[in-house]
């Protein structure tokens, strides 16, 4: 299938979905109280964006996401590199990682709340906590993905450790690191959302939970659309960047 065919078919599918979202509630086939027609949602969306309360909530959430990310990435990366580089520590930790990943980290939310109370710090701490693990795994995978034969070639030509780091490791790891950051952000965002929905008085997640509780469906769906759009746009942007950096990857 050609690229244009693919794009056209996808647009058609999208149109069908959007059309159903508009038509089915309007026709009464689906209860419009449960699923408001798309146009109502969009109108509400436009209205919401203008409200200061919503703008504040967005700002709070954005800040939490950024700060949590900034905290989580260095810690997770350092730990991941350590596990990958040091064979002994790696042997100890790697089997544990799978167990760790099976555990719902949301169960630690109450602990964060008990320690930090409800507020900015608690949410950031929790999100950073969950994100750090993902960054750890990705960093370890990235380091291990560097082919040992490439390293050997560099060493045989007398490259110093720094040179090997920057001339072999970094270019080799770059696409993986970008992908790791992208995935880490997905989890980071989710972590912030969970924290905000669970126990918070601010943030978009809190607003959404609130709207849900009060059956304010148009607002709820408007919020969902905006958040989804932001998530997807960010994701695709990083993916495009990844693609640019990894033309050499098989």
């Amino acid at each position: 299938m050609t690229r244009t065919q693919i794009i056209v078919i996808r647009l058609v599918l999208l149109a069908l979905v959007l059309g159903a979202w508009e038509g089915l509630p309007r026709a009464g086939i689906i209860n419009p109280l449960l699923l408001p027609p798309l146009s109502d949602v969009l109108v509400m969306l436009v209205d919401l964006i203008r409200r200061p309360m919503v703008q504040e909530a967005v700002a709070v959430t954005a800040l939490e996401v950024i700060v949590a990310f900034i905290i989580a990435v260095p810690i997770g990366a350092a730990a991941g590199i350590l596990i990958a580089e040091n064979e002994y520590i790696g042997d100890i930790c790697k089997p544990m990682l799978f167990y760790v990943f099976s555990i719902p980290k949301s169960i630690f939310l109450p602990m964060f709340i008990l320690v930090f109370g409800i507020g900015f710090q608690q949410k950031v701490a929790y999100a950073a906590f969950t994100t750090a693990f993902v960054v750890l795994m990705s960093a370890a995978a990235a380091v291990e993905s560097v082919r040992s034969d490439h390293i050997m070639v560099a060493r045989s030509y007398g490259a110093t450790k720094t040179q090997i780091l920057f001339r072999v490791y970094v270019p080799s790891m770059l696409p993986i690191l970008l992908e790791a950051l992208r995935i880490a952000m997905i989890f980071n965002f989710t972590g912030v959302m969970i924290a905000e929905m669970y126990a918070s008085r601010t943030g978009i997640g809190h607003l959404i939970a609130n709207w849900g509780e009060n059956f304010q469906m148009p607002q709820l769906f408007a919020g969902v659309i905006v958040l989804s759009a932001v998530a997807i746009v960010f994701n695709e942007a990083v993916r495009a960047l990844e693609a640019k950096c990894s033309t050499w990857r098989t």
């Binding site: 949301s106 109450p110 992908e179 939970a209």
Partner: protein, 271 residues
Amino acid sequence: MRRPDPAAVRWMILAALLALWEVVPLTGALPELFLPSLSKTLTVLYIDRHIYFAALLVTLYEVALSMLIACGLGILIGALVGGLAMLRELLLPVFSSLYAVPIVILYPVFTAWFGIGSSSKIAFAGIYGFFPVMLSTAAGIRTIDPQFLLAARSMGATLPQQITRVIIPASLPTVFAGLRLGGALTIIGVVVAEMLTASAGIGYLVTLNRTILDSPRVFAAILAILVLSIAYYMLARALESRMVVWQSAGRRQQQSSSRGEPVAVPTPAAA
């Protein structure tokens, strides 16, 4: 001095953590509110065991049903999308883009639609688990060596025979990985949902006891969840290794890299 065996070190770390859990609160270094001692937690768990047991049953029930959705649909659709080139080109990028959306924001929608009972948890956790399982299965299907089908055809296998005698056995490792992943994710999804808005279940107990500041009971619930998820993981691994002895042998050669066992980047859970 010879370094101790890594497995032994892991047990030592676990033991140390448990010991700290007991000792630190008792010495008063951390208030009991933040961290009740292990013995207190276990005591409370025992006293209220009926309550916790009943809650676990609710949770397990929800997990089971959402696994049906996440794994059933996930594996089926993943196999189709991964196996059929047209569907793959068309839909796979769409699904992996959707994966970027934090599914948890849909949970209020489900509670509005289905109420705070089990149905909303099942719907939510089902979808939560669906995407990763689907993506993982789609990827896994593609690792099946196409030479198998060529060989089968050359031996005169009919299309139904190709499906039942070659494709299905060859996809077992992928299917099992999907089941393991799906189970882990639905447990996480159900727990998160129960913690957020619920009237029953082990996650609900966490939230309930937190709001009344009953820390031992909060941690008892947390402990129960920890045990549940670890038990599931161990069970899934045990089953998988029994059934699929020849796993790696059937796959196409993956890009050989690294020093030692590579750490795969998982598509795990955020929660």
